[in-house]
Symmetry: C2
Subunit: 521 residues, 2 copies
């Protein structure tokens, strides 16, 4: 495909997205015509020709054209359209509450109390809820969650996060190195941005796993950073091989200055949980090549497989001793959107900065100050996650029951989904050791691959669109995360509630049989 054709096809996809969002009306959807206008008359001040090209390049498959089409189908169903299915199953995004997971009562009670303080004393809430709400309000300017906070967050909550990390790792954490954020994505982008410059004329390169969570590929594109992909090894349950890290780095050095390494543990979309030994080797690799580590640890509470255990990079670093302990620079990211909490919409998260140069840290804190502060209610949620009710406190029993129920159920669904795909002909699925996704590989008949090419789509995208149109199941094609050439995958969440998940898997199986038969004639 020529660069111009690639651009046309990209704009075409985008515009069909706008059309989907616009429902019935007004936005011109003939991409060639629209683009033609832009290119020849350039009537607008800001147009496809003079727009920041990094923004054009950026792709985020988790909310891409397929998901936009899913929303369109939902609207069609609402209007009474006849389809072979009654509802769209959104297995594309780790959005627990949207799939029926219930909020943790303690968190919601504290949130209600801090937003409307008059109910603290008259709502009949447990003492620990009332006390927590008062503590948080006392830490807010004017005792209102309507006040700005420090840009790195409320000191009290940063201290609670440091205590959480100390309990988790058995090693001290410094509260000044904790920076609260509106979800992990914001924090990750803030740290990535520190690398936006050239070194000896070469752009900075960041190593990311393939498959990866597309926030990384999107942000690297947005910032003009160089993407250095290293493949995870599907055969060893998406293991991380140091030899592959070495190969990928060598290959990237030709075009960029490799400065940072992203590790997602537990893995998204791949669900693996790294062993302690593996983490040690990764730290040694980073030390040897002077790489800053991004430890994306947002799924640290989501570990299911027997024998799997979460080790934070910070803990392993501390226990490896010198020279790693003091020299390897690390940012670890956490979110309240995942775990047993799933409060995606409240936008709370944090990062811990380890061994960062003080000048750099001061500059990072300065840079985020222009964005004022992360939402106080997201911060309040962070507080409840970092300092949950303790044994003996009135909210403890209910909290534990709710937490255990969520994690047990996720555990069962993780097994159910991998088992089912492994029983289906043409599928293989690695054990979902952790996180919230399965990333099965599947075979496609040669004629399906051909048909996809004719339709101008990657084969897995073609398959996922067919699946959506015929069954209402929305998954994300593997090409949105990256995969070895010639292999086909998709990511599905394990979040549909058990009965719905079973239904989804049955429908999926029937679809795949029919699809394979159709393209094998």
């Amino acid at each position: 495909m020529s660069p111009q054709m690639r651009m046309l096809s990209r704009v075409s996809r985008l515009l069909s997205g706008v059309a989907a969002r616009s429902g019935a009306v007004e936005i011109v959807v003939d991409p060639l015509r629209s683009l033609g206008t832009a290119r020849t008359m350039a009537s607008k001040v800001l147009n496809a020709d003079n727009l920041n090209p990094n923004v054009l390049k950026l792709e985020y498959a988790v909310r891409g054209p397929l998901v936009i089409r899913a929303a369109e189908i939902e609207k069609e169903l609402q209007k009474g359209a006849q389809k072979p299915f009654k509802k769209v199953i959104r297995a594309n995004i780790g959005d627990a509450h949207a799939m029926g997971q219930q909020p943790i009562t303690f968190i919601r009670q504290v949130l209600a109390c801090v937003t409307l303080p008059e109910i603290i004393d008259k709502g009949g809430y447990p003492e620990d809820v009332k006390q927590r709400a008062r503590e948080i309000l006392n830490a807010c300017g004017g005792k209102s969650v309507g006040s700005y906070t420090m840009s790195h967050g409320i000191e009290l909550i940063r201290r609670h996060v440091a205590e959480y990390i100390e309990r988790r790792d058995g090693h001290p954490a410094n509260w000044q190195d904790i920076c609260l954020s509106a979800g992990a994505s914001n924090a990750i982008k803030n740290v990535l941005q520190l690398f936006c410059n050239t070194i000896d004329g070469k752009p900075s390169g960041v190593m990311i796993p393939i498959p990866q969570y597309p926030l990384y590929s999107a942000s690297l594109a947005e910032y003009g950073l160089c993407q250095c992909g290293y493949y995870l090894n599907e055969e060893t349950n998406w293991g991380l091989d140091i030899s592959e890290l070495e190969r990928a780095r060598e290959e990237c050095l030709k075009r960029c200055a490799v400065r940072a390494l992203v590790v997602i543990n537990p893995g998204n979309p791949t669900g693996q949980v790294l062993t302690r030994e593996n983490i040690e080797s990764i730290i040694k690799f980073a030390h040897k090549h002077k790489l800053f580590i991004f430890a994306d640890e947002v799924y640290q509470d989501n570990v299911y497989a027997e024998g799997s255990k979460f080790f934070s990079f910070k803990k392993v670093l501390r226990e490896m001793g010198g020279p790693y302990d003091k020299e390897v620079e690390l940012a670890s990211f956490m979110s309240v959107s995942k775990g047993y909490v799933g409060e995606c919409g409240l936008r709370g998260g944090w990062m811990e900065l380890v061994n960062m140069e003080p000048v750099v840290q001061a500059n990072l804190y300065k840079a985020i100050s222009a964005m004022l502060c992360p939402t106080t209610l997201g911060q309040t949620t962070v507080d409840c996650v970092a300092k949950p009710p303790q044994q003996g406190e009135p909210s403890y029993d209910l909290w534990l029951k709710e937490k255990t129920a969520v994690l047990d159920s996720l555990n069962k669904r993780a097994k159910m989904i991998a088992d089912t795909f492994n029983k289906m002909e043409g599928f293989s699925c690695q054990v979902v050791q952790g996180a919230m996704y399965a990333f099965p590989q599947f075979q496609l008949p040669a004629r399906a691959v051909e048909a996809a090419k004719k339709a101008g789509k990657a084969p897995d995208v073609y398959y996922a669109f067919k699946l959506l149109e015929e069954t209402g199941i929305c998954v994300v094609p593997g090409s949105g995360f990256g995969q070895r050439p010639g292999t086909y995958h998709f990511r599905t969440t394990i979040l549909p509630q058990p009965a719905l998940l079973q239904e989804m898997l049955d429908v999926f199986q029937a679809f795949h049989k029919k699809f394979t038969a159709e393209y094998s004639k």
Copy 2:
């Protein structure tokens, strides 16, 4: 100052900030030593030498070194330190609740109900609160505010914002052109980012007022965009002269491709409210030179002076007719942090995109999708601002009473502050027609200017530090916003409650007399 010395001084300021935040402990604060280490050994992967230089350059005075020192003084006072004052008065930032403004009951009741839906039916809330909470929950995935929303926000709320704009302007607004955001700053940065490229080898330039709100200078620095300052005319109450726009643009064309124009109306820090005629001339200027308009209209509800009235750029554009109506591209920004609401900590805002090329708009919506969504509770607050209780509804009377009380009080304080400064020798202060700030000019004795130079500080910064140390009053020096060379200003909010504001102004007056006497000996 040599570039190296400038860097040392910058790092020194930053590090003293880190020291302030760290309270007692652990971060090395000798900047020379620390920097020396970084520069000679470069022991860290990420250090002052290889950090993104735009991040080093970025400054945000509203939360700069002076404010960091203010926080430090607060801690000293808490620990019992003896000072000539008992508390710090934070007049540096438009943080209404922190200064004692009370939240609007309707908003907080709706927020409590959506976070803890079980109280909707048993809390004794007014019917319109209950209905609003149910409507918002029905628009959330799984009926939970814990779910992600569309990246541009919940459709229901975008529709309510469009209706608000229609009522405000008397012209249709298209809900698909409304994009919700976590405060206005986020939205502003997202649109600025579209311009991050070169045109014929020249960087994109953005025209901003001087004085300006430093989010703009900070973001331009961060994105490597070219800052084209145009001076507001203090003599005509910070008026915006088209001849000055022409001069500034001509001057900037030498070094960049001028592509956009930022107008802040009502003005921050300057408090002027543009006339309709002035806005028409600005739109003509933008059309003539093909500039995209950023209309920062977050203070649209904060207009005090008799004869002043807020006109949105959108309204004026629509009423000017062709060719402006269809051709001038515009993004207008709004926030729930200001107005009569002051919910800064909840992070809610929106932008309306007018005449934007569909391909560009699709790319903007795509770019924000990787950041998932603005907080649902910020969006809920937006909903309450866009669609407040209507006459006849049970919450209407209380809502109107609370709204009127806040705006009346701000109105009085706006007058009080300008009148007081105008009575003080060596001060002149323009009428605060709108927004939340006064930006008085003041005279400094020649010896004070000299002393400032010796201390390595700008004269207004030197003055503001003395003011803080001796009185506890925290204002932001004019150099953080920009001012004509040789003039000195500061920005103070009008937000301290009336009694405190009077106290602050009395103390200020005494300080200034003493300061002037001391440096006139």
